[in-house]
Symmetry: C2
Subunit: 233 residues, 2 copies
DNA sequence: CAAAAGTATTAAACTTCATTCAAAAAAAAT
DNA sequence: ATTTTTTTTGAATGAAGTTTAATACTTTTG
């Protein structure tokens, strides 16, 4: 089928582009590089993708598809507590974003786009083609799907008692998601070789997960604050 | 003094650039726009800034300076518990990044740069000029400063009993920071008008802060998990 | 003070892409 | 076999970042 052929070619171009974007970055990757990598002429890439932005949007779409796959994968395995699921999600999410930094960047970028869209001031700064493309709606949907799955995991945990009952599932899950997003971002500077930072990634990650679990599960309350002594340092 | 004059001019150009980047975005802002906004010729901007990247680096520097100012501001007020400080930091941090999205974007971008640098594969994708510029080192330093201040706040809280004593200050603070970074990112999609999401930003924020506080302070432990019942939905 | 040296400033030239286009080649339909 | 549609190309276009050579303005210094 012609459609099948076309999709194959698109995928071929896209995969090459992802490789290039990942190693050289968006700006440094030239459309000619993309063409060369797919063994086609520069002009032809414009037959399959409207422009460079559109190509990047396709990358973003793929990133979101893979992200959702992670969520679904976790959710698929039943017979576990909500807490176990959330922990599993945390591990897989972090593995995914740390192994696919460029795809994650695309995801974060998209979140930025949504912010621009939300804001009167900056809405017009988005190129109209991006908004018109089915991509924008679709990506919001996938994002929302991920959110729904995560919220369900937390709900499950509240029902089965592995997560403390006074929590609200939506708020809680989105807070967890925040943690995951931030962890990946900070992992760069924290993992920076050179700064004599007491914290190292390998130490931080288990501590991070433990904190998250304690936040969900609850902990023994700490002893009452002592009188506040005027501090030293 | 000549130096003073130059700094003044640089600031003038920079401030205009920030305004433009904020409303139109980096790519859509042309060097000519920057020049026009500063009422100088296009060529002259290249006298004050090596190139567009360098101009953006200056923006990033400003972003980090302001971020550090937030941390210092919070830390300055003594006579409070660590928990109070962290809560104050949370509020101010979020206020800062939500009001200055473009500056925050620059900060997040820089974190990406560090990640690229950390990685053999992609290190060469960074333009050498960026690494040579004092900016790179300086920005890492400021980032580290912020981290140190935050860690101190948590340490303080552990000492004064407002934060549970079994926590490790470094791990804990960087985990909080993760939450803050992620909150801002997710605030776009979560605040998106249209999706009938149960969660709204105005609801999420207080819940988010409460969760963070409970993570730090500790909570009553939830009841033991019930037997895991094969789940329904 | 006036020449020299250095600093700002400009407009035009140059360069590097993203993007478009007209034409050719290939495939499909009639 | 001929027309029509789809795919492909390489060259042309144009936008924007960057460089440069020439000019004006300041400061230094003999």
């Amino acid at each position: 089928m012609a459609t099948k052929d076309r999709e194959k070619k698109e995928k071929q171009i896209l995969d090459g582009a992802i490789k290039l974007f990942s190693t050289k970055g968006y700006t440094a990757t030239k459309m000619e590089d993309v063409a060369k990598h797919a063994k086609i002429s520069k002009g032809l890439t414009y037959f399959y993708f409207k422009n460079k932005e559109d190509l990047y949007m396709a990358v973003t779409k793929k990133a979101f598809d893979e992200l959702r796959a992670v969520f679904r994968e976790v959710f698929k395995f039943k017979g576990r507590t909500g807490m176990e699921m959330v922990t599993d999600l945390t591990n897989r999410y972090l593995e995914f974003v740390l192994e696919n930094r460029m795809l994650n960047e695309a995801i974060l970028n998209f979140m930025n786009l949504v912010q621009l869209y939300n804001n009167e001031e900056s809405r017009n700064s988005i190129h109209p083609l991006i908004l018109e493309s089915e991509h924008f709606k679709k990506l919001l949907e996938i994002h929302h799907d991920c959110g729904k799955l995560g919220v369900q995991m937390v709900s499950l945990g509240i029902k089965d008692g592995s997560i403390r009952p006074e929590l609200q599932a939506e708020i809680t899950f989105y807070t967890i998601w925040s943690m995951l997003i931030g962890f990946e971002r900070l992992s760069g500077p924290v993992g920076f070789e050179g700064k004599e930072l007491k914290l190292h990634l390998e130490n931080w990650k288990p501590g991070f997960i433990k904190l998250m679990q304690e936040m969900l599960r609850g902990t023994i309350q700490a002893s009452k604050p002592k009188a506040i002594q005027a501090s030293l340092f």
